[in-house]
């Protein structure tokens, strides 16, 4: 049990979280968070859909996302 949680400790985000998370859960969580982050940024900053562009226009310019 001790050895097992040692292994988990090396792959989970934080030692104290090791008890409740598994390696697979950590990997999936990291992937989902990164994917959601990219999707949000794409929608706000990069989508060519007019409505998205016009709604986020000033944010795009203020963040120097390529615009127009």
């Amino acid at each position: 049990m001790q050895a097992n949680s040692q292994i988990l400790n090396q792959t989970t985000p934080n030692r104290t979280a090791a008890g409740s998370t598994s390696k697979a859960d950590a990997k999936l969580g990291i992937f989902c968070a990164a994917f959601l982050g990219v999707a949000l940024l794409w929608g706000v900053g990069f989508s060519h859909i007019n409505v998205f562009h016009n709604a986020a226009h000033d944010t795009r310019h203020s963040n120097a996302f390529p615009c127009h």
Partner: protein, 259 residues
């Protein structure tokens, strides 16, 4: 999905606070410059007869904008303007004032949450203990990756600035962000000199290749306004990334300590 839940809470809290903060900073520093530039943009549009919706009043608008363009310049600018302004004539846009600023605030907050998700995912992937101070350093790296590096080749632009085709610029932006982020990761997370040299080469590469540029540079807004916008965007972005780094580091520590 316990890890995802904690990362999401971290990112939503940090992105919300940093987003509200940067919305206020944008209202002070960048949005007034954008609105000023749009006055010049509109005048230039009206001066270009080929642009949709500018039928009869090109002569007056031309003198209003105070621009003396040669025939070829004019045609070029007109076709560029036509391409550039499809979005404004082709659909809904928020009306100026409260509605427009509300959408800017929402977009700023979503941007904050988006970047916070990437930071939190990176912290988790690294698997080391976080605190606000480590978060600050990550935030500074984010500033270098997402603002400084792409901004060197594609400086922040006010509305009404001619630029290369959008998709080309977006591709260069994404490639520069990936190469700069990857390069910094190699420099910071490996110990051998070879990897560090490769990291530096990755950071240099997109600039050696060069950012896509327009056939000719032209801006409807005066150069002084365009320059002050570059400074405003870069500095507001620094403030945003410092805030986002500190907040993500702080909330990440709390989320993964409470387990």
């Amino acid at each position: 999905m316990d890890t995802f839940r904690r990362l999401l809470i971290t990112a939503v809290l940090a992105g919300l606070i940093a987003g509200v903060f940067v919305t206020l900073v944008h209202q002070i520093a960048t949005v007034p410059v954008i609105l000023k530039a749009e006055v010049f943009e509109k005048a230039a549009d009206e001066a270009a007869p080929a642009t949709e919706g500018s039928d009869g009043n090109s002569a007056t608008a031309g003198s209003m904008s105070g621009m003396a363009m040669s025939g070829t310049d004019h045609d070029h600018a007109a076709s560029e303007a036509h391409e550039a302004h499809d979005h404004e004539e082709g659909g809904w846009e928020p009306s100026n004032g409260l509605e427009r600023n509300a959408f800017t605030a929402a977009a700023d907050i979503l941007t904050g949450i988006g970047f916070a998700l990437l930071l939190a995912a990176a912290y988790a992937a690294r698997g080391s203990q976080m605190d606000w101070r480590k978060g600050l350093f990550w935030g500074l790296a984010g500033f270098a990756v997402f603002t400084l590096a792409p901004g060197l080749g594609l400086p922040p632009e006010v509305p009404g600035t001619e630029a290369a085709p959008l998709l080309q610029r977006q591709l260069w932006w994404v490639a520069t962000v990936l190469l700069t982020g990857g390069g910094l990761a190699l420099i910071f997370f490996t110990r051998q000199m070879l990897w560090s040299v490769l990291g530096v080469a990755m950071i240099v590469l997109p600039h050696a290749y060069g950012a896509p540029q327009p056939a000719e540079h032209h801006s409807a807004a005066p150069e002084a306004l365009a320059h002050s916008f570059i400074v405003a965007v870069t500095m507001t972005s620094l403030l945003f990334w410092v805030a986002l780094g500190i907040l993500t580091g702080f909330f990440f520590q709390r989320q993964f300590k409470a387990a």
